[in-house]
Each structure stands twice: as structure tokens, then as C-alpha cells.
């Protein structure tokens, strides 16, 4: 890609203008100097200052004053400025110059009308000039003063778009001044003198030329001069061709004249010769310029071509970006700093149901129907996402609800917005991106409502269940307690009966009383065990750190009578420290040991209590050498009131193991039996290890 400026070979407008701006000042200074020198010459009668060479016409003193004034005027007006005192003075001087010329010119039209204006200064010295003609201001000088004064006075006056009268007048003056100067250069008197009148002095002609060039270049970027100073090809060609053509023509003409005067060749030959050389030189100039122009044009074309391809490339990219944005599933809307919409993509129109509007940002909320996620609360107009973005804030995935006549059912959208800034951080506006999330939102809401409902139901059920359990426990407790009352009556009075009338009744009566008392006792035991069972949950205290070996020994102590009766041998292995409720753990050991003693075989009971670390828990074992249990019953024995034997074989209520199971499970362990009939039973239960419990508590606390 070519980025070099296509017109780099052409001098820029500014540099030419800057170079030209030195001309008017220089011209002004030269004119003022000339005027002063001439007046100096008149004052002190220094001839070369007045006329340069003997035999030439002297400069009229008033002409010198006019030149001085013109120089001052040009100096004041040399740069375009808004009104100031010096510009005003410059214009006054210009008008004075114009009047001097005009008055003197009137004198030529009707003698005497000029009031002898050109004889006011040094009138006595003017007398008869060395040329033999009275020194007056020449008529062509008067005309040039008129033109010069007019062009200076009108310097900043514009008639039409690009028409400056000062320029036209200055050009006309330049031509006349050139004619006069050439007259001197080529020795043609008729070119600087008009008929019988006194001719224009040489310094006057040259100073006029200089002044007119100064005026013409005083406004280099305005009017016709703008064409010359243009940075484009036309200005380029003009700046090359014009000076070349002028210099070549002048030089050739002068050379030809000199040669002709010396007598090198005659007029016919001179004209032909000059035409030939002129053709050659001008052709060379044109060719040279054309070559440069061609080169510039080639560069220009190259630049334009690369510009074209750049443009095409940009257009393709733009089309691609637009296609991508248009086909995006998310709505994209861009607005400028004042809230005027710059862009809406297709998805944006589809989601919102509307397009860009002229409504001011204050009215967007109402126009597009923007609501909070609840679908009913209108969004605060000043907090609409795009407005926040324009104000420099960002919005990220905010859920909003849109409802307007085009989308009467409404839509939930997820809205994000960002401010748009240029490279320097200046705000350009904002962009908002939104996505239709209605389905997702509805599903989410359903799920949420469902969860709430579910949670409510769980709470309700749990409450019901807790109440039911509490009621049941209360019932079991009250029932077992109140049941004891009448039972006590039955037992007490049966026993009283037995005690007092034993000898007066027969054996049958004694047996009846015995069964009645036995039944009442069993019922008492049953109620007591039931009470224990119902108390496991209710009465269980906080687990504390305890030595399970010590607890086992306490249980053995409680069973002392049964142990002595059966001659049981109980051994306790190494037992760990654990967390448990001591009363309940003792109950477990007591029940298991009690069973082991009760269900002994022929031999006296031999019982081994031990514990082993297995994984994250301790496994306790109470192994006996008793009658054992058929594995098919290994589950049933842990249920309440489940018995495997007749009451007269092995007494019991069938609650002991159920109590054990309840206690162990409450402590986070499990209980089971490994046994075969006749081979003893091994009751095992697990309890969590201390470290594991501590670890869990730590992580819960954390």
C-alpha cells in the first residue's frame, strides 16, 4: 500500500506563498528609497540621483513624492490584515497617489486644470531640463499613478467570487511599466514618451514596474494569483513556463536588436533568426516542463491507483464487517453523543420490534417499552443502558424486559452496553448489545418457582414428620409410664394375695397366681425396654470423648449376677478412645454381653471383646461361643419385638438389639452379626475414628 503523498514533487502552496510574501515589502522599500534619493538629488542638485545619466530625463519631484507615497502605501498594505491604523493610513496614501495622477492627467486634457501640481516643489530648479524640455510629470506617469493608486486602494476589494479589481488594474499597470522599461532597454523613445510630451524618467519606469509587481503579489493566494501559486499541476506549469517565456523572449529580442545595430545582420534575417531560436528555446522549455509534468502525472496516477485499491479494500472490509454485524444473533445498536442512532442491525430490529427513532433519549424507555426484569416496573429513563454507555458507563448482562405495541407479549433480554471512544479517549457515543433470553428466563423462573414450592413442601413434610415423631415418642413414653400404674396394682395385690393366703389355697391357685405374677413381670420388663427404646433419641446426650474399654468394664459390672450364675469368662482386648454418649454405649455393651451370656450352649459362655481400625472407623467385635444364629435371621434380630426363641427357653422382650441398632446408627456407625448356628455369634459394630470426626468438624467450622 502506498502512503506517500501523491503531490510530494510539487512545491506546496504555502512555500510559494511564503516566498512571494517578501516581494511587496521589497518593492515598497525600493520605491520609498527611490523617492527619497530623487528628492535628495533635487535638494542638493546631485544629478545622478535625479536622472541616473546625463542626457536622460530627470525624475519630477512630485513624481518622486508619488513614488514615496506609493511605497509607503504598499508597505502598509503588504499583508492582508483586519482594519488597523496603518491599513487606514496606507489607503489614504493610495488615494493621495490616485489624486496626484488624476490632477496631473486633467492638466494634459485641459491645460491649466492641474494647477501646476508638478511644479510645486523646486519650481525654480525645474526651468529647462538638460534635455531641453521643461521638467513636468509625464502623461504616462500620471496614468500609471492613477492605476497604482486605484490598485492599492482596492487591494482587498472583491467584486465576485474570485474577481479582484486591484489585480486587473495592477496587471494593466505592469504591462504599461514594462513597455516604458523596455523602451529604455531597447532605446525606443516612443515607448516611454508620448508624442511631444516629456517622457517618463528611467528610475520612474523601473520603480513603477517594481511597485506593480509588488501589488500583484501582495495577495498571492487570492484571485488570479491563486492560480499561479496553486499546488496543483496548473500552478506548477505556470510557474515554470511563465518566467522562462518572459526571460527567453526579452533576452532574444535584446540580443537581436544589439546584433542588428552593430550590423551583424539585417531586419529580415533578424526576424527569421529570432523566430527560429525562439521556436527552439520555447519548444525546449515546453518539452522540459512537459517531461516534469508527465513525471508528476505518473506519480499522481500511481498514487490514485493505490488509493483506488485501498478504497476497494476498505469497502470490502466494511462490507464484511457490516455483513457480520447484520447477521449477528445479538441485537446491536449504536448512537452518537447526542443520542442520535447511527446503526441498528437486523437482530436489534427483530428483538425490539422497532427501529431507530427521533425520540430523544429521555423518551426511549417509553418508546421502546423498557421494564425491569419483573416485567412491570418501568425502567428509570435515565438508566436505560445505551444512555449510561453514552454517559461513559458500562452495563454487563443486565436482565431487562421489553414490551411495546410491536411485541405485546414482551421479551426478556440480557443487555450489555459500552461507551465508544476514539483513540484520544474522546466520547463518540455508545453501543448496546442485547440478546433475547425469554425462553431461558421463563425456564429459569419455572425452575425457581418449582424449587421454592419443593422447598416449601419439604419443610411442611419435615415439620409434619418431626411433629409425628415427637408425638409418637411422647405417646410411647406416656403409654409406657401410665401402663406401669395399673400393672403395679396387678402385681402388688397378686403378691399380697400370695403372701397372705398361700397356705389357705391349693396348688392350682398357687400356680395361677404364679403365672399371673410372671405375666405382669414380663409386661413390666416389656414396658421398661420400650421406654428405653423410645428414650434413645430423646435422652441421648452429646457424645463425649471416652475410653470404650472403661465403658465395657462398667457394663460387665452391671451384669455381675448373670456372669456369676453362668460362670461366664469375658475378656477385653485393647479398646480405643471414641466419641459417644457413655450411658448409651454402656447400654450397647450390656445388651450384647447380656445376649452372649443368655444364649450360651452346653459350655459356660466365653466372650471376647475387641476392636480394630478399619478404614476411617473402628470396628468393635463381641464374639461368643454360644448357640449362634442362622444367617437368614441376621437382619430380623435387629428389629423391635423380633425373637427367635420361645419365652420359656430364653426370656426377653426382643427389644435389646433394636436399641443397640438405634444407638449405633445415631452415633454414625452400623451393627451386624456374623454367625452360624452352633458356632457362636460375632456381633460387630462400627464407630467413627476420633481424627475423622475432628477433621469433619474442622472443615465444617472452616
Amino acid at each position: 500500500m502506498q502512503t506517500r503523498a501523491p503531490n510530494a514533487a510539487v512545491p506546496s502552496d504555502e512555500s510559494i506563498v511564503r516566498a512571494m510574501s517578501a516581494l511587496p515589502g521589497t518593492a515598497a522599500v525600493l520605491a520609498v528609497l527611490t523617492g527619497i534619493l530623487v528628492l535628495f538629488g533635487w535638494t542638493f542638485d546631485i544629478e545622478p540621483l535625479k536622472r541616473i545619466a546625463v542626457g536622460l530625463v530627470a525624475v519630477n519631484p512630485i513624481t518622486a513624492v508619488g513614488l514615496l507615497l506609493s511605497g509607503y502605501s504598499l508597505w502598509s498594505l503588504r499583508r492582508p490584515r483586519s482594519y488597523s491604523a496603518s491599513i487606514g493610513a496606507g489607503r489614504v496614501a493610495a488615494v493621495a497617489v490616485l489624486l496626484v495622477g488624476a490632477v496631473r492627467f486633467m492638466g494634459y486634457a485641459r491645460p491649466g486644470w492641474d494647477c501646476g501640481i508638478d511644479q510645486i516643489l523646486f519650481g525654480s530648479k525645474l526651468g529647462v531640463d538638460s534635455t531641453g524640455i521643461p521638467n513636468r510629470m509625464a502623461p504616462n506617469t500620471a496614468v500609471l499613478f492613477i492605476l497604482l493608486g486605484a490598485s492599492l486602494a482596492l487591494l482587498d476589494c472583491r467584486v465576485r467570487m474570485r474577481m479582484y479589481p486591484a489585480e486587473a488594474i495592477a496587471l494593466l499597470g505592469t504591462v504599461l511599466a514594462v513597455i516604458a522599461s523596455l523602451g529604455y532597454a531597447f532605446g525606443v523613445q516612443s515607448m516611454y514618451g508620448v508624442r511631444a510630451f516629456i517622457p517618463m524618467a528611467l528610475p520612474t519606469a523601473i520603480t513603477f514596474l517594481v511597485l506593480f509587481i509588488g501589488v500583484a503579489t501582495a495577495r498571492p493566494s487570492e484571485g488570479w494569483m491563486a492560480t499561479m501559486t496553486s499546488p496543483h499541476l496548473g500552478g506548477f506549469a505556470a510557474r515554470r513556463l511563465l518566467p522562462g517565456a518572459i526571460v527567453i523572449t526579452l533576452t532574444l529580442s535584446w540580443l537581436r536588436l544589439q546584433a542588428q545595430e552593430v550590423g551583424l545582420f539585417d531586419t529580415e534575417f533578424g526576424v527569421a533568426m529570432m523566430a527560429a531560436v525562439l521556436i527552439a528555446l520555447l519548444s525546449a522549455l515546453v518539452w522540459w516542463s512537459a517531461r516534469l509534468l508527465n513525471r508528476v502525472d505518473v506519480q499522481h496516477q500511481n498514487a490514485q491507483q493505490s488509493l483506488h485499491s485501498l478504497h476497494d479494500e476498505l469497502q470490502q472490509k466494511h462490507a464484511l464487517v457490516e455483513t457480520v454485524i447484520e447477521s449477528a444473533g445479538d441485537g446491536i445498536v449504536v448512537a452518537d453523543r447526542e443520542g442520535r442512532f447511527l446503526f441498528w442491525n437486523k437482530a436489534a430490529r427483530e428483538i425490539v420490534g422497532l427501529g431507530p427513532t427521533d425520540v430523544s433519549p429521555d423518551g426511549w424507555q417509553e418508546h421502546y417499552g423498557v421494564f425491569r426484569a419483573d416485567g412491570t416496573t418501568p425502567f428509570p429513563p435515565e438508566e436505560v443502558a445505551l444512555r449510561l454507555a453514552i454517559a461513559g458507563q458500562s452495563v454487563s448482562e443486565q436482565v431487562q424486559f421489553l414490551r411495546n405495541p410491536q411485541i405485546p407479549d414482551g421479551k426478556w433480554v440480557s443487555v450489555s452496553a459500552r461507551p465508544l471512544r476514539d483513540a484520544s479517549g474522546q466520547s463518540l457515543g455508545g453501543v448496546v448489545v442485547f440478546r433475547d433470553i425469554t425462553e431461558r428466563y421463563r425456564a429459569h423462573e419455572h425452575l425457581r418457582a418449582f424449587n421454592v414450592e419443593l422447598e416449601k413442601r419439604v419443610v411442611e413434610r419435615t415439620t409434619d414428620l418431626t411433629r409425628a415423631v415427637a408425638e409418637l415418642q411422647q405417646f410411647a413414653y406416656v403409654a409406657s409410664h401410665d401402663l406401669q400404674e395399673p400393672l403395679r396394682m396387678v402385681t402388688s395385690y397378686l403378691q399380697l394375695l400370695e403372701r397372705r393366703y398361700r397356705s389357705q389355697l391349693d396348688a392350682d391357685a398357687d400356680e395361677f397366681i404364679h403365672f399371673a405374677v410372671d405375666g405382669a413381670n414380663r409386661m413390666k420388663q416389656l414396658i421398661s425396654d420400650l421406654l428405653d427404646y423410645s428414650r434413645v433419641e430423646r435422652k441421648g446426650g452429646r457424645p463425649v470423648l471416652l475410653d470404650s474399654g472403661h465403658v465395657a468394664r462398667e457394663a460387665i459390672e452391671n451384669l455381675k449376677v448373670a456372669i456369676e450364675e453362668t460362670g461366664a469368662d469375658i475378656r477385653i482386648g485393647e479398646l480405643p478412645e471414641i466419641l459417644a454418649d457413655p450411658t448409651q454405649l454402656r447400654q450397647v455393651f450390656q445388651n450384647l454381653l447380656g445376649n452372649a451370656i443368655k444364649f450360651h450352649g452346653e459350655a459356660p459362655p466365653r466372650i471376647q471383646i475387641s476392636a480394630a481400625r478399619e478404614g476411617e472407623s473402628w470396628t468393635f467385635s463381641v464374639r461368643d461361643n454360644g448357640i449362634g444364629i442362622d444367617p437368614q435371621h441376621s437382619q430380623r434380630i435387629f428389629e423391635v419385638f423380633q425373637r427367635l426363641h420361645a419365652r420359656h427357653e430364653y426370656p426377653g422382650t426382643g427389644i435389646g438389639l433394636a436399641v443397640c441398632k438405634k444407638i449405633i446408627e445415631r452415633l454414625g456407625g452400623r451393627i451386624w452379626v456374623e454367625s452360624e448356628p452352633g458356632r457362636g455369634a460375632n456381633f460387630k459394630f462400627t464407630l467413627p475414628q476420633l481424627e475423622v470426626i475432628e477433621h469433619e468438624q474442622h472443615s465444617r467450622a472452616a
Binding site: 409410664h481 403395679r488 396394682m489 402388688s492 395385690y493 403378691q495 399380697l496 403372701r499 413381670n521
Partner: protein, 156 residues
Amino acid sequence: MSNTAERPEPIEILLVEDSLGDIRLMREALRDARVSNRLHVVENGSDAMDFLRCRGRFSGASRPDLILLDLNLPRKDGREVLAEIKADEDLRLIPVIILTTSASEADILTSYDLHANCYLVKPVDIDRFFDLVRSLHGFWLTVVKYPAKDARSLAA
């Protein structure tokens, strides 16, 4: 040590009990223990307070040496009776023995909180019950020293 023979008056016992079976058992137990006593029985809490304060039909009631109080009573229950007795500057000197079927921790704690002198659970077995009454007599009516019935007025 004093014994029953040395006591000229039989011991006055107030039994607050609504179960006729228990009242009869108590009489039997006292007879079995051969205690010289006069057993007054009221069947509810408000009668008990009337008796102790000699009100209404109990205007001629004598002051008991010992109160046997059941907790679960009709009209005014044992806990209220206990609280009232122990709030009374004079009556609180009489030992109150709670005799009930309840072995509930809550009942035991409440009773001692209300300054019961002793809490006993009625045994199911008759022999144990008789033993209990015997030991009651042996301890509370023989071993324990009480202030004189009019001790407070004498001290004043």
C-alpha cells in the same frame, strides 16, 4: 436414739393419693411395719392444702409429722401442693416425701427444685414396697430430728 415405745403419741402421716389401691397398699405396708400411726388420707391437692391449713371440713385436722405426696393428682397436682407447702413459713418444716410411679428425670428435678425432702419411686414389687415403707419409718420418723411443732413460736 428414740423408738416408738418412747413416743406417747402415734405418728401423724398425711397421705395425698388418689389411687384407692395405693392407699390400701400403704395401710397394709404401715401395718406390716408395725408403726404406731394415724394415717390421714386426702385424694386431691386442694383437700391437702385445706387439711394442712385446717380449713372447711378439715377444721379439726391435726398437724402431720410427715407428708407422703403423689405428683399426679386431680384438681391441684402434687407439684403445686409442694410449692405451696414450701412457700409457707410454718408448713415448710414438715418433711414432704414424694411417692410416685414416675421415674422421669424432669419430675425428679422439679420436685427437688421445689424443695421436696425426698423423692421415691413406687416399686412394682410388693416386697420392695413394704421394705421402702419400713425404711421410711426407720429413717424419717426415727433417725431424723425435727424442730418442735411450735418451735418457731417458741424461738420468737
